[in-house]
C-alpha cells in the first residue's frame, strides 16, 4: 500500500479504537515538529493529547552556558556552534546578538568541522559550543579525541551535554498518573540502544515505543500506544524503529562517548539540577575544557524565565496555554527557548497550529 494511504488507515484505526482521554508525551522536539508538519496533529481525535517533552537540546541548555559563550566571545577567539544554538538567549544576550558586531562566529553542522577551523587558524583559539544529548555526544567525543591525538592546543569545548533517562525519571516520578504513553526518541536509541528506554514500561508501568521520524513511524507508534493502553494489559515496550535502532545501540559510538566523558550532575534550563544527567570531559581531556582554559565560572542562578517554557517541556501545559504564547513570545521575538529552536514545541505550535483547523 502507498505510504500515505497506510498512514491514513492507521490514523482511522486510532480514531476508532480510542475512546478514553489519553496523554501521550513525545519526548523529542523533532517528533513534536514532525507531528505538526505532517498534519498528524490535525487528524487525531480530541481525546488524544500529545504533550511535548524535554528532548530539545536548545530548550534545556542553561543560561549560564550561553553567558559563558558571550563572555568568551569578547576575547579574540573563534566561536563555533550548531545552527539553532546561536539564537538562544543567556541572561541578557544571545550569540546571534554578537553576530552583528563580530565576524568570529561560525555555524557548523558537524563537530568535526571545528578541527578544520582550529587547523586553519593556528594563531587563534577556537571554542566549540558543544550542546546536545546522547545524539551529538559521540560526534563531539570523536572531535575531542582527534584534537587530543593531533595536539590541537588552540581548540576547546564549552560543553552542555545532557542525558535522557534522568530527566525522564524525574518527569515520570511526578507524572505517573497523567502520562499514559511515551514516544521515545529514535535517534537517541540509535546510539544508546532500544533497551535504554525499557525502564519506562518496567519501572513506571507506562507504555512506550521507540519511533522514527517519518509520518508512518509516528502513526505506528501512536497506534501501538493507544491499543496497548486501551487493552489495559501490562505496560508494553516496543522498538518500532528497527531499521535504525538495535537493542544494544551503536557500540562504537557509545564507547567513544564514555572514553571521553564522565557522568555528572546537570543543570537543566527551566527544570533545575538533575542528578547524574550530564556529560563532562574526563580528567584526561580537561585541557580541552573552555571554561578552564579561559578561567570562566558560569553562574548557577535559577533561570530567569518570564514564560512557562519549563511547564511546557515537563508536559504540564500545552504551548498555547502559556500567557506569552503568540503575543509577547513569537519566533521573531522569542521570550523562551521553546520558541527559539526550530525543534522547540512552542515554535512548532506557533508555526503550524491554528485554533479550529
Amino acid at each position: 500500500m502507498y505510504k500515505a494511504e497506510l498512514v491514513k488507515s492507521i490514523i482511522n484505526k486510532i480514531q476508532q479504537s480510542c475512546i478514553e482521554k489519553l496523554n501521550i508525551m513525545e519526548v523529542c522536539g523533532t517528533h513534536t515538529h514532525a507531528v505538526s508538519r505532517s498534519g498528524i496533529r490535525s487528524l487525531l481525535p480530541p481525546n488524544i493529547v500529545l504533550l511535548s517533552g524535554p528532548g530539545c537540546p536548545v530548550c534545556v541548555t542553561e543560561e549560564g552556558l550561553i553567558d559563558a559563550a558571550v563572555e568568551i566571545l569578547k576575547k579574540d577567539i573563534i566561536l563555533a556552534a550548531f545552527g539553532d544554538m546561536v539564537r538562544v538567549r543567556g541572561s541578557s544576550e544571545s550569540i546571534s546578538d554578537q553576530l552583528h558586531k563580530r565576524k568570529n562566529i561560525f555555524i557548523v553542522y558537524s563537530p568535526l568541522d571545528c578541527l578544520d577551523l582550529a587547523r586553519n587558524n593556528p594563531d587563534k583559539q577556537v571554542v566549540f559550543l558543544a550542546a546536545g544529548f546522547e545524539t551529538t555526544a559521540p560526534g563531539i567525543a570523536l572531535a575531542v579525541k582527534l584534537a587530543y591525538k593531533e595536539n590541537l592546543h588552540n581548540l576547546s569545548f564549552l560543553t552542555s551535554l545532557k542525558l535522557m533517562p534522568p530527566v525522564l525519571h524525574s518527569i515520570l516520578r511526578e507524572k505517573q498518573k497523567k502520562i499514559h504513553g511515551l514516544i521515545c526518541p529514535g535517534h537517541v536509541a540509535a546510539v544508546m540502544g532500544a533497551g535504554y528506554f525499557r525502564f519506562v514500561a518496567g519501572e513506571y508501568g507506562i507504555n512506550a515505543a521507540v519511533c522514527g521520524f517519518e509520518p508512518l513511524d509516528i502513526a505506528s507508534g501512536l497506534l501501538f500506544l493507544t491499543e496497548k493502553i486501551s487493552s489495559g494489559t501490562e505496560a508494553a515496550f516496543a522498538n518500532l524503529y528497527e531499521s535504525c535502532v538495535r537493542e544494544e545501540g551503536n557500540e562504537t559510538a557509545r564507547k567513544i562517548m564514555m572514553q571521553v566523558f564522565d557522568i555528572a550532575d546537570g543543570n537543566w534550563r527551566g527544570i533545575g539540577e538533575i542528578k547524574e544527567s550530564s556529560l563532562v570531559l574526563k580528567e584526561k581531556y580537561c585541557c580541552f575544557d573552555a571554561l578552564k582554559k579561559f578561567n570562566i565560572r558560569p553562574h548557577k542562578f535559577a533561570d530567569n524565565m518570564q514564560c512557562n517554557c519549563s511547564d511546557v517541556i515537563l508536559g504540564n501545559i500545552m504551548p498555547y496555554e502559556c500567557r506569552l504564547f503568540g503575543k509577547a513570545c513569537t519566533p521573531q521575538k522569542p521570550a523562551g527557548p521553546c520558541m527559539i529552536s526550530s525543534e522547540g514545541s512552542c515554535s512548532a505550535y506557533y508555526k503550524y497550529w491554528e485554533a479550529g483547523i
Binding site: T30, R37, G39, L43, Y352
Partner: protein, 334 residues
Amino acid sequence: MEEKIILSHGDGGKFTSTLINELFYKYYGNEILLKGGDSAVFSVKTRRRLAFSTDSFVIKPLFFQGGDIGKLAVCGTINDLAVSGAKPLYLSAGFIIEEGFSIGDLEVIVRSMGDICRETGTMIITGDTKVVEKGDADGLFINTAGVGVIENRYMPKKIKNGDRIIITGSIAEHGTAITLERYKIKAAGSFGSDCGSVYNIISSLAPFYKGIKLMRDPTRGGVAAALNEISALAGKGIRIYENLIPIRKEVIAVCNILGLDPLYLASEGRAILAVDPSMSHEILKCIRSCENGKDASIIGSFCDSCSNLVYLETEVGGRRLLNTLEAPMLPRIC
C-alpha cells in the same frame, strides 16, 4: 591587466577604463552601452506601460553549483520584470568590489551576466563600478535594475475561488545548493541551483494571458512567502496539496538532514501563477513544453473555506497552516 582589484580600479582613471573596456564592454557589448555616455539613451516605441525593477545581490558564496552572483543578479531582475507581466529589455549593473578581489573571478561573473543577457534577448546598457577598501565589503556586491514593457496586465482582484495555482518547476533547489555550499556539506547527487530566467516560459504563454491573473517568483522566503503574498493581493485563502508540489528527492533528503523546510527555501528560476481553471490545463501543457518547465504542476487553488490564509493539505490528509517565515532558518542540532 592586474590580477587583483585595486582601489584605482574605481577612481575613474586609467585602471577604471581598462576594466570597463577589457571586461564589461567585452562581455556586455551592445550599441547603447558602447556609446559610453553618462546615461544610456534609448527609445521605447510602445504605447504600453513600462515596468521598472531593482534588486541588490549580496549572496555568499559568490559561486555555487548551477550559477554565480552574476547570473543570479541578471536573472533576478529579469524574473521580477517577467512575473510583473513585462518583457524585460534593458538592465543596469552596479558593482561594489572589495579591494583585493580576484579579477579572474570577476571576469567569470561578468561573463555569465553577458551570457544570460544574450540568451534572454536583454541588454546591460549602463553600469557603475566602485572599489572599497579591504574589509569594507565582503568580496563583491551587485545591484541590477531593469526596464520592461508590459505585455500582460493582471487583475489580482478578479481572482475567484477555484482559480488554480501553478508552479513552473521543482522547488527549493537554489536554497538547497546555497545551504550545501555554506555549510560545506558533501552530499552525493546533483544539487544545482535552479537559477535561470523564467521569461521564456511566460512569453510562450502569450495565447493564454487572459487566463493568467497574477504571477510571483518564489525567491526569498520560498513558496510559502510567495503564496502568502498572492493570497494577500487576491484577498482570498489558498489550499495547497503537499503531494502535488514538485520537489526532487535529493532536496527533501538534504532538508530532512539539516532540519530545513523546503517550502521556505528560495527558488531562483521558478514562477507561481494564479490562473483561471478553464485554461489551467492548457497553460500547464504549454509550460511543460519548455525545457525549464517540464516539472510544472497545478499545486492547489483559491478557496472560500480558508479564511484568507494559506493551508497545506499534507500527504497523509492532515492540514496545517503555511505562514510566512518569521525568523531565519538555521540548521538544527540533531
